[in-house]
Subunit: 267 residues, 2 copies
DNA sequence: TTATGTTAGTGTCTGTGAGGCACTATGTCA
DNA sequence: TGACATAGTGCCTCACAGACACTAACATAA
């Protein structure tokens, strides 16, 4: 951790001795770049992992895959993979590509949560993974296994720890994504993205309650949502064995509206 | 972006043909790891950059360095650098090492903000940078140039765009860090970390106002801060040319207390 | 046809903490 | 000793949260 140490050849990505270095002729950026070779340096392995959430059968679920390849072959993990340096222009390209590969979904709420890096999180060595969280409706979704995953399933969030031991530090990653989701329920309209296009207010409230972990007062919830100009009536009704309910859809601002105050919960 | 494409040798980090591959004997993870060589793969260059904020002379300032080496030699940028795979155990180790190198500070509020990655953000090719934000008191700080920076200065946030053209995508990074700070002022006690250990309530309010960009009502502010069990009296007073003010210090929870409601601003 | 149950949706109360503003308190300095 | 400046308080309104009893509209069973 000394200041001198960080200038060794393998880490500085710079010429440490401007006089004796064979590359001391580099006086322009173009020349510097000509002799620069990334493969000469010790850099971490960098990947993208994601927690894809949905609501199914009145439960918050996350997508898990069973790894078909080394390392951690046969273990359950969050879907993810490496950046394709040719096809991906940004990190979110990588994330949405992964999402599409597993679920076929290409429009969804996709949010970068946090980046994890360290020496011991992957047996291949120092590695970095950028964690994303996706919220999708599971309606009409077909999960796709491929070369990298021999199995793929929706798992209720409270069953993950009980029945699935996740590879690498994916439990930590999932926990942080879940935390982000839980904290955002309190002050945004984000969970709307977990539902299909048309939904009733009761369904929306149920979704909020599932994530929050406690019941919300119906009147407060409706006042809050209806007063925010984030949803509009489709004009249709959901008919069941009771009084039919108005159907709504989220308008543009509804995808992530910020409320001025938090949901406070029961007194 | 096709599914097939991502399995090419250089990006999958896996053996694409389990039959004909020279490594098809890999039946255990240990064997897989023995033949795994990170330098064979196309992976992005990965670094850490940071926006170090402080309050000086009634202004919010950020630390900028003038780059002494290629690429972007001679240009202003956020301090940052590469992960030292030997000495850094996690990403935040890298961040705190950088903070210490430049400012000598080793305890501060340090927070990961966002990760930026793409093909075009660095002339060396596909690169990823993990952006951190640090909040420190500039009291008794000595800025240190070194091999990588020929100059290092505090710049008032509103002067950055006016007088400094930042290298790479550092303007975007700085903007996001600043946004994060601005949004956190509304519902946390975070700005407390920008002040020295002892401060008056007026100084704290001034700090909040500088970041928010508008004045806060004195009574509201004091009620909010005093009601939250986040600060305590030192017992000393700040004497000036007026009525002396009580000095306070932040207790543990004061470093990042979450308020239930946002500061709302003038009506 | 009517009673009952269930879910949809409303009226209206209290409570909390925000903003506003006039007030008092306590120091320095001319 | 009085003007001033900044510290700190008392008390008002307002917005929006929670609570809860109420009404509305359907299916179904008696």
């Amino acid at each position: 951790m000394s200041i001198g140490h960080f200038m060794n050849d393998k880490n500085s990505h710079q010429i440490s001795d401007p006089v004796n270095s064979p590359a001391n002729k580099e006086s322009t950026e173009a020349e510097f770049l000509k002799t620069y070779n990334i493969h000469e340096f010790d850099i971490p392995l960098t990947s993208v992992d994601m927690a894809i959430f949905t609501i199914e059968h009145d439960a918050l679920k996350v997508l898990l895959v069973k790894r078909a390849q080394f390392p951690a072959k046969g273990q359950w993990a969050l879907p993810g993979g490496f950046i394709n340096l040719e096809d991906d222009n940004t990190l979110s390209d990588t994330a949405s590509r992964k999402l599409k590969e597993k679920t076929g979904v290409d429009i969804a709420h996709l949010e970068q949560v946090s980046t994890f890096g360290g020496l011991n999180r992957d047996p291949r060595g120092w590695s970095v993974t950028i964690a994303y969280m996706a919220l999708i409706s599971c309606k009409n979704i077909v999960l796709k296994s491929n070369e990298t995953s021999e199995d793929i399933v929706w798992v209720a969030i409270e069953n993950v720890n009980k029945n699935y031991k996740l590879a690498f530090d994916h439990n930590t990653i999932l926990t942080q994504c879940y935390q982000r989701l839980k904290s955002k329920v309190q002050y945004t309209s984000l969970p709307i993205n977990l539902l299909p296009r048309a939904f009733t207010l009761s369904e929306l409230q149920k979704t909020f309650e599932l994530i929050l972990g406690y019941p919300i007062e119906k009147k407060s919830f409706r006042r809050r949502v209806l007063g925010a100009d984030i949803i509009a009536k489709t004009g249709e009704m959901r008919v069941g064995s009771n009084r039919p309910a108005k159907l709504y859809y989220a308008n543009a601002s509804g995808k992530e509206h910020l409320f001025q105050r938090n949901i406070e919960g029961p007194r």
